[in-house]
């Protein structure tokens, strides 16, 4: 069956449309705790102008944001704050770990600095560098846009799908454990009988 579409009308999937809308209006939450924050500001300023990618609306309340940019080192005192802010952000949301410190702890291998925020919150993009150039951050935003376009669904059904897959995988692993032949009686047992 052939349908004649009027001009300026497109056919798409509603999931794809939602992803397309989301990826072009990312609202970053600047979690700038250290020197990387300066580069983050430069990225938002006129020279590098992150507005070209639709991500210029920096909001300082997590309730209005959907992209958390962690720019700088996170200490053990700050981490509960980071987690709370992450939980306060509404779905769908993404996280960019900007710089060596946020991604791995960087040179600060000390008692108080968390060695990579991805140990405690999910991270979508890692930006290497100390600090990364604004171009690198922009590249991360562009890559994240590609990721958003590929992955998202309107109602977040990908989470359920993932949970299903994980439970299936866990089941499979269980079976392999039971199938492995049990080892013969341990030599220690024979020793004790002697």
């Amino acid at each position: 069956m052939e349908l004649e579409l009027p001009e300026n009308v497109f056919l798409s999937q509603i999931d794809k449309l939602a992803s397309w809308v989301r990826k072009n209006s990312l609202w970053p939450m600047p979690f700038a705790t250290a020197c990387c924050g300066i580069e983050l500001m430069a990225t938002g300023a006129s020279k590098h102008d992150i507005a070209r990618f639709g991500a210029e609306v920096f909001r300082f309340t997590p309730r209005q944001c959907d992209l958390m940019i962690v720019a700088g080192r996170v200490t053990m005192k700050m981490l509960p704050v980071l987690q709370r802010i992450w939980q306060q952000m509404p779905e769908p949301k993404w996280c960019i770990s900007m710089g060596a410190c946020a991604s791995t702890g960087g040179v600060f291998d000390t008692y108080s600095v968390v060695q990579g925020i991805d140990r405690f919150i999910p991270v979508d993009m890692y930006v290497p560098g100390c600090p990364p150039r604004p171009e690198q951050l922009i590249q991360a935003v562009m890559d994240l846009q590609i990721k958003i376009q590929k992955e998202g669904t309107l109602f977040g059904s990908e989470f359920e799908k993932k949970a299903r897959q994980e439970s299936k995988r866990a089941l499979l692993q269980l079976e392999t454990v039971t199938q492995t032949p049990r080892p013969a009686a341990l030599p220690i047992v024979t020793n004790t009988t002697v």
């Binding site: 200490t75 053990m76 005192k77 981490l79 509960p80 987690q83 992450w86 939980q87 952000m89 779905e91 949301k93 291998d109 000390t110 008692y111 108080s112 600095v113 968390v114 060695q115 140990r119 405690f120 919150i121 999910p122 989470f159 993932k162 949970a163």
Partner: protein
């Protein structure tokens, strides 16, 4: 760096010449007065009220564990400034475990509040008479004193003692 000689004359006439000693740092040129820990408050009070050292610039401490030739565990350091003639004097006393308590300088300088909290947090030195002796940099539930030399650089696992948030938990 120099300090008016009258200050030392006054100190000698008030506390005697044997109670304290004076030295000069070979590197920085700071003039130091080393006093007994039990009397540090009296010295500070005298220096503030009689010798014109009206500004407390800093309080810090040094852990001499593993330090070559050191006889005492902790050095507690007060840096005083005379704002009228810009004299700078370092008042230092030594502390050993288990008695790590000195009187607080809070009645003399309200600004000592946070500096003493920092020394308490980092070294575990207690200040008697401090209005609010809590940790200031580390979280309240933290155990240990990070600037002590026997505290491991990478900590005791505090930095990774958190719950992990998964993607679905958002």
């Amino acid at each position: 760096m120099q300090v008016a000689p009258q200050v030392f004359e006054k100190l000698a006439s008030r506390f005697g010449a044997q109670d304290w000693s004076k030295s000069e740092s070979p590197k920085s040129g700071n003039i130091r007065v080393i006093v007994p820990a039990a009397k540090v408050f009296d010295y500070l009070k005298f220096l503030k009220e009689e010798c014109g050292f009206d500004f407390l610039a800093d309080i810090t401490a040094i852990d001499y564990l593993y330090y070559r030739g050191a006889r005492d565990r902790f050095g507690l350091v007060y840096t005083l400034v005379n704002l009228a003639n810009n004299d700078r004097l370092v008042v230092k006393c030594f502390l050993n475990e288990p008695d790590l308590t000195v009187p607080s300088a809070w009645p003399l300088w309200k600004g000592s509040n946070w500096m003493e909290r920092e020394v308490f947090d980092m070294f575990g030195i207690r200040f008697d008479g401090h209005p609010d002796l809590r940790r200031i940099l580390c979280p309240q539930e933290f155990v240990g004193n990070p600037l002590r030399k026997d505290y491991p650089l990478r900590g005791r696992g505090e930095r990774h003692n958190f719950q992990r948030l998964e993607r679905q938990q958002g």
